[in-house]
C-alpha cells in the first residue's frame, strides 16, 4: 500500500479540520478546537501557545508537537493581537528550528580552526577572560532575548561584575523611540496600543512599511476599509513600498524631510488657530534644545517662543527642505486640524535610524499633543519595534549601558540602591558610570589595546553584529587582526558574527526553551518549552548563570550577594537550593518563573506593573500596567495616562502624564529645527543609500535564509534604483555594479523594476544577505541622545563593472 493511500483519510480529516478553522477565523468565532492531525488514540498532536518568534507585533501561535518535533502551526484564535490570523511567516516559524546546520556543540578556535570542546571547558574559558580584567568584558545582547534571559545578563553584568558594558542590538533599531518618549512624557513606551488601529479614521505611516514588516497590524486597517469603512491612509517616506500601494496619499520626501514636515504642521495649526488650546493649556509644556547644555530634557520655552520657532516653517519652506509639495503638507496639516478625526501615527526604523531620531520622534508626539489627537482610542502616536522583545527585554528590563531594570538609571544613586536592595547586594556594589553604548563598545573592541581599546572580550547573545553594525570595516572587521581580543558568540546557526568568533556556544531557540517576550504594545507574553534543543544546545539564561556559578566557585566576590550566597541562588517549593547551573537540573524548577518574579519587583516604580508569572501562563499576554483588582483578578491597561483606562490616573484629571519630566503631570511639546543628514550626496558620491528589510527575510536572514522557498524568492541582496538613473549609468536590470561609499564597497545586482520605486538619486539595499554586507558601506554617525546610527542616509556612488 503506498503512502498516499495510507494517508488519504487522515489528510482528508486534516483538511476538513483546517477548513473549519479558517471558517471560524473568517467569522471571528472562537469556538472551534484546533485540528487534531492524527485521529488515532494516543498519537495526537499536543498544542500549546507561544508568541511568534519573528517581529515585534507579538502574534500568538498555537504550536503543534508530535514525537518531540514541531509539526504544525496555527494562528491563536484567542489572541487579541492577531485573532487567529498570521502573516506568511507563519509558514516558516516552525521550520526555523530544523535547519541542518544548527550549532550543536561548543567550539573553540585554536590555530585558526574551530574545535569542539565541552561545556565545562567553555565556561572556564569565559571565566578566565572575565577574571583577566572584569572591566574590559562586555555583553552585547538583543531584543530577541527573552525577558528572563535579558534580566539574567543584566544582573550578571551590573550586579555581578559591577560593569555596565552591556548593550543590545535594539540600540540600532529603537533607541530614538525611547528618547522620544522620555523627552516627551518622562517615561518610555507608547500610551496607545493596537486597538487604535481598529478605531482610527486616519493612519499615517512615517517612514514605516507595515504592509511588509508588520502585516498582521496593517491588515487590521486594510480589512476595515475592505468592509466599507472610510479610512484615510497616508504614507510619508523616501521610497514607495507595498504600504504605499494601499495609501490614498504618498508624501515622498528627502532624508530628514520629516523634521520640516512636522514643524510645518505645527505652524499651520497655530497660524489657523486650529490647535487644541484646552488640551495644551491643561496637559502640555513647551521645550526646545539647550545649545549651551545639550541634554535630553532641553530648556523650557513659552508658547509664544514656540510659535516664533516654528514660524519659518511655511508649507513652501517645508516643501523645499522635504521635497514634498506644499499642498500635500497642507493636506496633512488640515487633518491634524480636524478635531473630529481620530489619527494614529505609526513609525519604526525610518524615524528611529536617523541622526535626528530623538528630534523627529519628539516632533511627531508634539503635533499629536498640539492638536489634541491623543488619548482617545484611535488617536495615538505609536512606535513599532522590529524584534519580538525589544520592548520587554531591552526597554523594560533595561539591558542598556546606562540603565537598570524598570526605567532606572545607573547614574542615579537612589536607583542603584533599589537594585542593590532587590539583588541583596552590598551597598555601593553597582557602578554609577554608564557603560559603552553599542557603537562605542564595538569601536573600543576593534581598537588595539595599546591605542586605548579597553574592551578585550565581548559575549554576543541572540544577535548578529557582524552583519548589522554600521560601518563594519571600522566596527567589526578589525577584530580579525587583533589577537588579544576575544569574541564569544551564543547562537543557533553560523552567522557573519561566528566567522570571527573565538568561542561559539550553541543555543536553544524559541519553543526549545521557556520564555517571556514583551511586544510593541506593552503586552507581556509567556510560553513553555515544548521540544528539546538539538545536541548540546542550551538556553542562553543557563549559559549566563553557569558562567556566574563558575566565577562564584572561583571565589569571585561579585557573584556573591551580601550574605555570601550565589547571586542566582534558586530554591524549590520546600526552600532547598537547586543547582540550576548544572544543565541536568536547570529544568528541575522553572528558572524563568524565578527570574521573572524577581524582576517584577522592579516594574512598579515607573508604573509598568507586571502580574505574577502564573497569570501570564493563563493569558495571551497582558498590557502593562497590570494591576490587581479587589476581587483578586489582574487587569491590563489599554491606554496609558487616560482616565477610565489607566488605573494610575487620578479621578477627575482626564489625562495625567504622571511621569512628567517637569513634575507637573504635563507632557512636553518640543521644537527641534530641521537639520540636514550627517552625510549628503555630492559630486563624488551622488546617490543616497537607504537600507532595510524585505518581506521574505527577517533581519539578517539567519533563520529565513534557511527556508528554501524564502531564499529562492529573494536569494541575494540587490540594489534597487530608479530606471532613469540606471539608464544614465548604462546599467541593465540584473547587471552587477559596485556600490561604494567613503567607508567600503560591495558588488550587487541592480533591480530597476522592483518593489520600492526609489526616486532619482536614491538607492535601496536590503541587509539580509551575509554574502553581500551592505553595512560595509553604511555610516556610523549617531543621534546625539539615543546613540542610534542612521542606516537610511549615506552618500554612495554606483560604479558599472566593465565586462
Amino acid at each position: 500500500m503506498n503512502r498516499e493511500t495510507t494517508n488519504r483519510p487522515r489528510r482528508e480529516f486534516i483538511k476538513a479540520s483546517a477548513l473549519a478553522m479558517a471558517t471560524a477565523a473568517a467569522g471571528g468565532r472562537s469556538t472551534l478546537a484546533l485540528p487534531v492531525l492524527n485521529r488515532e488514540p494516543g498519537d495526537a498532536v499536543s498544542w500549546a501557545k507561544a508568541p511568534c518568534r519573528f517581529c515585534g507585533t507579538g502574534c500568538h501561535v498555537q504550536v503543534g508537537v508530535q514525537d518531540g518535533k514541531v509539526v504544525a502551526i496555527a494562528g491563536d484564535k484567542n489572541a487579541e493581537v492577531n485573532k487567529g490570523l498570521l502573516c506568511v511567516k507563519g509558514y516558516h516559524v516552525g521550520g526555523i528550528l530544523y535547519g541542518k546546520d544548527r550549532l550543536t556543540q561548543p567550539m573553540l578556535k585554536r590555530n585558526g580552526k574551530f574545535e569542539p570542546i565541552s561545556w565545562a571547558a567553555a565556561l572556564d574559558v569565559i571565566a578566565d577572560r572575565i577574571e583577566m580584567e572584569p572591566s574590559g568584558f562586555a555583553v552585547y545582547g538583543s531584543g530577541q532575548w527573552t525577558i528572563p534571559e535579558g534580566y539574567a545578563a543584566q544582573k550578571f553584568m551590573k550586579g555581578g561584575l559591577a560593569n555596565n558594558h552591556i548593550d543590545p542590538n535594539a540600540r540600532l533599531c529603537m533607541a530614538s523611540a525611547v528618547t522620544g518618549f522620555l523627552a516627551t512624557y518622562g517615561v518610555d513606551e507608547p500610551a496607545g496600543c493596537y486597538d487604535d488601529l481598529d478605531q482610527c479614521d486616519v493612519l499615517i505611516t512615517w517612514g514605516n512599511n507595515p504592509a511588509e514588516m508588520h502585516p498582521v497590524l496593517f491588515s487590521r486597517v486594510v480589512d476595515r476599509r475592505s468592509r466599507g469603512e472610510d479610512i484615510l491612509m497616508i504614507d510619508i517616506s523616501t521610497r514607495r513600498t507595498r504600504t504605499t500601494e494601499q495609501c490614498q496619499h504618498f508624501l515622498q520626501m528627502k532624508g530628514h524631510g520629516d523634521l520640516a514636515i512636522a514643524n510645518a504642521v505645527a505652524r499651520y495649526l497655530i497660524k489657523n488657530k486650529a490647535y487644541n488650546p484646552t488640551f495644551v493649556e491643561k496637559y502640555c509644556n513647551f521645550k526646545a534644545p539647550d545649545p549651551d547644555n545639550p541634554n535630553l530634557h532641553g530648556k523650557p520655552i513659552s508658547f509664544d517662543e514656540y510659535c516664533r520657532m516654528v514660524e519659518p516653517y511655511t508649507p513652501e519652506y517645508a516643501a523645499e527642505k522635504s521635497g514634498v509639495p506644499a499642498d500635500q503638507i497642507q493636506l496633512l496639516a488640515e487633518l491634524f486640524a480636524n478635531p473630529d478625526l481620530k489619527i494614529t501615527s505609526l513609525w519604526c526604523m525610518g524615524m528611529n535610524q536617523h541622526t535626528r531620531g530623538t528630534a523627529i520622534n519628539c516632533l511627531v508626539h508634539g503635533i499629536h499633543l498640539l492638536s489634541g489627537h491623543f488619548g482617545r482610542p484611535g488617536d495615538a502616536p505609536t512606535s513599532l519595534t522590529g524584534q519580538p522583545s525589544a520592548c520587554g527585554t531591552v526597554r523594560e528590563v533595561g539591558t542598556l549601558a546606562h540603565a537598570l531594570p524598570g526605567g532606572r538609571l545607573v547614574v542615579n544613586e537612589e536607583h542603584r540602591q533599589h537594585a542593590e536592595t532587590f539583588w541583596n547586594l552590598p551597598s555601593g556594589r553597582l557602578n554609577p558610570k554608564p557603560g559603552y553604548h553599542t557603537v562605542k563598545m564595538w569601536e573600543q573592541f576593534c581598537t588595539p589595546t595599546e591605542q586605548g581599546g579597553d574592551i578585550h572580550t565581548i559575549w554576543v547573545q541572540v544577535t548578529n553584529p557582524g552583519q548589522t553594525l554600521p560601518n563594519l570595516n571600522k566596527l567589526f572587521g578589525p577584530k580579525k587582526n587583533l589577537k588579544d581580543k576575544f569574541l564569544i558568540v551564543s547562537d543557533v546557526y553560523p552567522t557573519a558574527t561566528t566567522q570571527l568568533a573565538d568561542l561559539i556556544l550553541p543555543s536553544a531557540m524559541w519553543v526549545e526553551k521557556n520564555g517571556v517576550f514583551g511586544n510593541s504594545e506593552r503586552r507581556t507574553q509567556q510560553w513553555f518549552k515544548m521540544v528539546e534543543p538539538p545536541g548540546e544546545a542550551r538556553d542562553d539564561a543557563w549559559q549566563t548563570i553557569a558562567v556566574a556559578r563558575r566565577l562564584f566557585e572561583r571565589g569571585f566576590e561579585g557573584m556573591k550577594d551580601k550574605d555570601g550566597q550565589f547571586l542566582f541562588r534558586m530554591t524549590d517549593d520546600e526552600g532547598n537550593e537547586v543547582p540550576v547551573w548544572q544543565w541536568e537540573k536547570y529544568y528541575s524548577i522553572n528558572v524563568d518563573r524565578a527570574l521573572f518574579e524577581e524582576y517584577r519587583q522592579f516594574t512598579r516604580y515607573k508604573h509598568k506593573d507586571l502580574a505574577p508569572y502564573d497569570e501570564y501562563v493563563k493569558a495571551r499576554g497582558m498590557r502593562w500596567p497590570v494591576v490587581q483588582r479587589p476581587d483578586g483578578s489582574w487587569k491590563e491597561t489599554r491606554f496609558r495616562f487616560v482616565e477610565g483606562y489607566d488605573p494610575y490616573v487620578e479621578k477627575g484629571r482626564g489625562i495625567q502624564f504622571y511621569h512628567s519630566s517637569t513634575k507637573d503631570d504635563r507632557a512636553q511639546i518640543w521644537f527641534h529645527p530641521w537639520e540636514p543628514p550627517a552625510e549628503l550626496p555630492d559630486e563624488e558620491f551622488p546617490f543616497n543609500l537607504c537600507t532595510g528589510r524585505v518581506l521574505e527575510h527577517w533581519h539578517t536572514g539567519t533563520m529565513t535564509r534557511r527556508v528554501p522557498q524564502l531564499s529562492r524568492a529573494v536569494p541575494v541582496a540587490y540594489l534597487e534604483m530608479n530606471p532613469e538613473d540606471a539608464a544614465e549609468l548604462g546599467v541593465q536590470n540584473g547587471e552587477v555594479v559596485r556600490v561604494e561609499s567613503r567607508r567600503g564597497a560591495i558588488e550587487l545586482p541592480v533591480w530597476t523594476n522592483g518593489r520600492g520605486y526609489p526616486p532619482r538619486g536614491e538607492v535601496f539595499v536590503p541587509f539580509f544577505d551575509e554574502n553581500r554586507l551592505i553595512n560595509q558601506v553604511t555610516l556610523d554617525a549617531i543621534d546625539p541622545f539615543s546613540k542610534q546610527p542612521d542606516y537610511k542616509k549615506a552618500a554612495v556612488r554606483i560604479v558599472r563593472i566593465e565586462p
Binding site: 494517508n7 489528510r11 483538511k15 483546517a18 477548513l19 478553522m21 479558517a22 471558517t23 477565523a25 473568517a26 467569522g27 485540528p35 503543534g64 504544525a72 502551526i73 496555527a74 494562528g75 487567529g84 490570523l85 502573516c87 506568511v88 507563519g90 509558514y91 516558516h92 516552525g94 521550520g95 528550528l97 530544523y98 541542518k100 546546520d101 491588515s219 480589512d223 475592505s226 468592509r227 466599507g228 553560523p494 524585505v694 521574505e696 536572514g701 527556508v707 528554501p708 522557498q709 531564499s711 529562492r712 524568492a713 529573494v714 536569494p715 541575494v716 540587490y718 541593465q732 536590470n733 540584473g734 547587471e735 552587477v736 558588488e747 533591480w751 523594476n753 522592483g754 551575509e770 553581500r772
Partner: protein
C-alpha cells in the same frame, strides 16, 4: 503540506464572486463558505515552496485585499537547509556567478525578486 487561509476581498458581491470563481479553478484549493467579505480556503501543496507560491497567486488576484495564514501542518515536510545550500552559491566572487537578470516584461509580477532561481 496542508494549510488553511483566509482571503479578504473588497466588500462587493461581484468581486467576491469573481475571486471565488478564480480560486475554484485552481486545483490545489478547496473553498469554504464566504463569511462577509472573507473566504476560507484550504490549500494542499507538495511542499512549503509550492504553498507559498500559491499564496502569492491568491494575493495577486484582483480585489483580494489580504491573505492571512490560519493553519499550517508540515509534518511530512523537512526542507530547512543551511543558508548557503538553499540560497545558491552564485556570489559575484566565486566564479560561478550567473545571476540572472530580471525580466523587463512589465506583465510579470514585479514584486518578486528577479534574481530568484528560475527552476525553483
Amino acid at each position: 503540506m496542508i494549510t488553511s487561509l483566509v482571503v479578504t476581498v473588497n466588500a462587493d458581491s461581484r468581486a467576491i464572486s469573481h475571486v471565488r470563481c478564480a480560486i475554484s479553478e485552481h486545483p490545489d484549493f478547496e473553498l469554504g463558505d464566504t463569511v462577509q467579505n472573507r473566504i476560507p480556503v484550504v490549500l494542499e501543496a507538495p511542499d512549503s515552496a509550492s504553498a507559498e507560491s500559491a499564496t502569492r497567486w491568491l494575493s495577486s488576484l484582483p480585489d483580494v485585499v489580504q491573505v492571512d495564514v490560519v493553519f499550517v501542518a508540515f509534518d511530512e515536510v523537512d526542507d530547512a537547509r543551511p543558508a548557503n545550500e538553499v540560497t545558491d552559491n552564485r556570489t559575484p566572487d566565486d566564479g560561478t556567478n550567473s545571476i540572472e537578470p530580471g525580466s523587463d516584461d512589465q506583465t510579470n509580477d514585479n514584486t518578486s525578486n528577479p534574481f530568484a532561481t528560475r527552476n525553483s
